[in-house]
Symmetry: D4
Subunit: 248 residues, 8 copies
């Protein structure tokens, strides 16, 4: 519930247009919808500027479909991540224009146009195997109203490949850098640009990679400045934050 | 073997109603039943107030069925956790009224009525994906004779959802809070209530979640007071302890 | 701010006894006191039944003294944990009747009497080296109005020592069990009693103890029921929770 | 070496104003100064918008003083972090107006004015013990030309303290949230604001905190969006990134 | 190659019955058989008193069969561990009397009688789920010529079950104790017996068990004496060592 | 881009044979080929002496085939690692003479002859289960122009098997030692030879092996000298480095 | 309380020589002495064949002295481990013939002769830095009545040093092998002897040694048989177990 | 004992110049010197080409001095690492020309000239704080007869500093790269050179560095080829191996 609505409610109480009990009632229920298995945060957009996003992992196809069914009543754009093909097919039954991106494993439904800033987000991957995470970031940034430039497979073992794309990259307002293994690409890039770098470690690798731990620790302890880190394989989180910064 | 029986046995020895050898014999065998692959603790209820519960993981359907077959001779209510559908079908052959809860993955057999206190247990989940663990806790608490109120999907990313349910929650005598990812919900709730909070970390999440480690460590290091923690995904343990506290 | 005060405030607004701006002001500041380096939670007692406790680690003697100076104006009993002797001497200057327990490393100031229930808390240690943590639990439970029975050095390597104290222990309403090394004592006790067991792992040990990790993991994975765990060396947390349960 | 200079150099070569060997020479040496024990990055400001910062840990007082001595010839503002008092006294000999902040453990030298944007950065701590890390962030942000608002000790165990400051916090353009123990504060705040949250885990805590690991993992796996994380106790990194975002 | 054979070889060289080159040859090849994918240690029995045992994990059925085919030429008893049913069927083709134990996942071939000492080995499990590991230990001890007594499911949550079997257990010359979860059983037993205890942690459990880590650390940090530990799930290693001690 | 080409380019600029814009263009694009999902490093051979190698894990069959299709235009020998049979069949369609080694899981295409030095590489495994990793090392070393001698299954439990092969091993110019479990073989060998030892930990084992961690830590902390370590299961890395040293 | 005493007590009850209440009293108190800060296990020797040993770490000099004062009334030999010089001096005041071994950090008091078997224990160290742990093992074995042979600094980097001592080592009945770093020595020795090997990892090393973890994991995953492991730096535990085996 | 000596010994036995018992005696004692607390490996140089090196950590000054005293009788050059100033002063008493390098913490004694190859070793550090480890590598390489070129403080945050030194670096025959924090420098360099890279992680850093773990994992999982890794802070190991490769 935002500042404006709260003032109005208090004014209504003062003017006698609203009883104290009614006000308490409104303050309790405003802002969420209870589906039994989920409590949807219906005023997140008012509060944070973005509608709620569905995290598909651990939810049944029926649960995801049920949540989307409710959200469709709100006319917002919808984003769901970590979605299997089963869930996609279930959702398609009730919303034929849902879009499934099998690389990013995302569902999107477009219901309104969003203004798109002039500035753009660069999304850079160290290797081909990092593509699914990068694509999740890109889909997220795009549905929230951003232009994205993708730069693929420019990891540090052949660092001249990065230099070849540097003049494009430097025009972005914020950078998302996706890397597995030793996760060194954000450190290099961080020393070459003057905009924020969002580092996304991936679980790409084996052995001492320990499920993405090596990239995660490398990015956290980076000797370059202007870098921050999101969870392993969290393309969504990076795309969301990049959108937030790009649209400041 | 409880205090009363021990006194009687010693008295019997003293009065000559029982030989020393017979007494030794009774002291050895009393309290357990040997099935070859399992040694059932038959006097746990006398000792701890609760009958033995079957932990299904790592046991074959035949072993679970065998244990239940013996326990049915005792007229106690029966609870088995971590049960697959195969095992359920095996048990159903010998006990047609067994109840299988596929979300909680529990088997229950009701053989006697338990008194139910006026007070109740609140079981709260941070997200929809935490439901199976919460349901295991609820089934456990209910079979041991407790009323349960479920509050679902009120995690800290939209904390007003919790506030909306707070007046209900505050009426409970003990709280079970089930959360994955960063596991912050018990900390928030612990600062808002005056009753014990049992925190259950879940393995819901990915990456730096490391199988529930992030939620576990977060709950253990909580800056709020009145919180204690059970094992990752241990809905049973939380439901059992909540029952113990609710029935004090 | 509790329910009662909130109703009165809304009623005052309705009746015109309070302007909307004034109401907003009260809602902002009520409940905490800003000292610059600390924001004291002044209505925790209303909310959780217990006044705020000072965690001394990482605070300078001046900061601890400043917080206590403010709290003394409130006439509550005061508890501070993880206190060095330096801090004690600093606090003593402004509050001569402060009590320092050098084993528990606690400061206490008694300003009002608390009712003490008939039931008591048992605090049990596996070894002599676990005493400081146990004593922190005991001081905490006592200042919050509880009777405590201490049972010392009855670890599982000579488990008959525990049996010798079992009839006393079984009369308690809740048990705090403090153990380092493999932390097995709560498992044993949990199988012998019908009341909640709060397990406190300690950092006592060496090598594969890894700073208390062995005891922590052992307690979390206990095969006994009715056990929950607090942080390593967290005597305060166990004493606080035990008080909460004992006073239910 | 930036784009402009590179074009000029190539043009000079083309026009014969510069020989090929001379051009090679310039391309090799431009941009760094070799002190024997350190190679100072002299064109970082051109490249990233910020001059090089000195990381004091592991450097002798003589080494830090030597680096600062050279940097003073450049007329930039100077920032050094993780500085002991010994090093401060050594530097003071050659630069009497150096400022030492003993809480933040920073050295600063002001040599030129920086434009300061209208927008500001909020720096929020969960507890009093998190102050040194927060202060490092604040000093960093200020020397780079930003206005900072500090909000202290509003951790989740008494979350109303945060709400009391929320209207101030919501006016900031970017948030730095500093927390130890379970590190839950960024998750809560992230659900309440529409600007980027930079989370800084601290090593404040004990036991299962494992030197800041609990807070770090909690922040990485946060269920709120718009959050990214820097290294444990890395106040500098957070202040630097916040400055970068605030000055976009 | 043992002492006796070495003396003879040197004597043969001295007496001229063996050339220097021939001696070098014998010293190189004696004691192993090269199969291309495996180098069988053919004089392990002379050196350590036990023939080589086949560790099946990571070997193809063909490789296991090939190794057994060679070993059959030696008239020793044969033991293979971590064997799948596929491998068993492959081996059965060339050795129809091979015995497969599907619980222990072992293959055994009996080719000679071994003397069996009067004393016996007790093999004790904490739970039913620990049976496969215990059975691997039992099969190992038996093929190497030992009498085994099995005690099943006497874990610490109902410790009276252990007491019921204690007089039998105390007659053993060495104890193998198999336990998952918190792994406390060896600590208890170690305080009750005067013979060596070989502790085998198992991966039985979930969550903070971390694949057997909790039991492993608990056993290593046991406060009882006379206990040593083998690898997680290493029933073979425990049975082998118990045989070595029982046959001293 | 190497020194020679850079000089020529600058000279061309100077002489007016090349415009500044054209030079910038060449400097940007030289050295890589963009396939959309991959950016192939086309001048790695000039820079490091070896053509790029394809890491198959996480790439689709189509992606691997696409990369190989491009590389075939370059007339280099091709090596791809971590290749499934599906990918092999896909590649075979466009390159019928590709060779698949199912143990090493490698693809190789031979397009030119490489000089082979007189000296050779020894590749030694501790056990039969380490063969796939060793074979990956061998295939790598061979495609890059080296002679390899394989010594199999000579682990430390029967260390005389190693001694039997020592005179052969000592003739190698560099050693690759592949071992799982405790990973002790490199330590032993390192004390017996005067050439570099490249240690490759494998994930062979179970329990406290923790996916190769035990072998990795053992090799890193080896008390022998002349040993360095590559990632767990990284046969390719070891073969590549061995080739580099053998061809010095 | 042993079998014999228990029979007598029951017989006394039967014959009326002992009342039921008196019997209960004896059963409660027999076997331990309560000192307030410690509960001494006074019938451990009857139960396990060895008197209680004092673990000095975490105990004050006064506490250790108090425990020893009581134990001196029992005429047993006394062993205390992890003892600082302060504690030694305190104990010397009340027991002038106490012996302090500053390398092993042990206190011993000899009060009765123990029979010493013909067979002996070999205690072997990989390096000079492992001596303190080995000496703790040796002191322990000797006070419990065993002959010890020490073999020093024969680690695997120069494995011929071990071979030089092998004929002596092979005459022992049980081996204690103490090693830090990669901890490979037990694996080698285990393949060369036919008696049990007790492996003791030490915290000697740095970096990836992680406080003894590398040696611990290496020993647990050893490919040799007949090896078991005690805690890092646990010389006492190894000496105790070796005594138990040597005296079988 | 080398091949040549062994042949002679066998020939002497054959010819009767040596009795069998005498031969056994020589085979036992040849190659090591027993000092009681250390067993010096006196024929390591024959076997591996390098004399034994003293690892000072965990040894008393007297022990180090005693070992050096014996080694001085052998006329070899001597190297001791991890040496405190106390030990240096103790050794200086018996060997006045010993050289102490306080940064590298090494002792060296020069007793004979070593041939020095034309080729050289580059030793490169990422930061100033990595100097002590790099210097240990340099001293090691130099005492074993190598020319070293040092390149300091060229970490990836300002990667142009590395490029400025690249033409020098590329002339080396082998590279030692020393880096803490994220340890990315070896990955970058590995993609730019055609010679082996020995990566040395250092414990420089804080927080998620976890004592060097971040750099270690980063180097192990490097996406560049031709890289191998030694233990954290193991400058000696890197210098030794570099010498071995440089002198091939």
């Amino acid at each position: 519930m935002n500042q404006e609505l709260l003032s109005k409610l208090l004014a209504d109480v003062k003017e006698g247009r609203l009883g104290v009990d009614q006000a308490l009632e409104q303050l309790r229920d405003f802002g969420s919808k209870d589906l039994g298995y989920a409590t949807i945060d219906t005023h997140r957009e008012l509060r944070t500027g973005y509608p709620e996003v569905i995290f598909g992992q651990g939810k049944t196809p029926e649960q995801v479909a049920g949540i989307i069914e409710f959200m469709l009543t709100r006319k917002n754009n919808i984003l769901a991540t970590r979605i299997t093909e089963d869930t996609y097919l279930k959702v398609k039954e009730l919303c034929p224009d849902v879009v499934y991106n099998p690389i990013a494993r995302t569902l999107t439904v477009k219901r309104k146009e969003t203004s798109i800033p002039q500035s753009f987000i660069s999304i850079i991957t160290a290797g081909t195997s990092d593509l699914p995470v990068a694509e999740e970031a890109a889909v997220t940034a795009e549905i929230f109203g951003n232009r994205v430039e993708r730069v693929v497979d420019v990891g540090v073992a052949g660092i001249h490949r990065l230099y070849g794309k540097l003049s494009l990259i430097r025009q972005a307002r914020v950078h998302v850098v996706v890397a597995g293994m030793e996760g060194a690409l954000p450190s290099i890039l961080g020393g070459l640009v003057d905009k924020p770098v969002i580092a996304v470690p991936t679980s790409v690798g084996y052995g001492a990679n320990f499920g993405g731990l090596s990239a995660l620790l490398g990015m956290l302890t980076s000797c370059a400045s202007g870098i921050s880190v999101v969870n392993i394989d969290n393309g969504f989180g990076a795309g969301y934050l990049a959108s937030m910064i790009n649209r400041l």
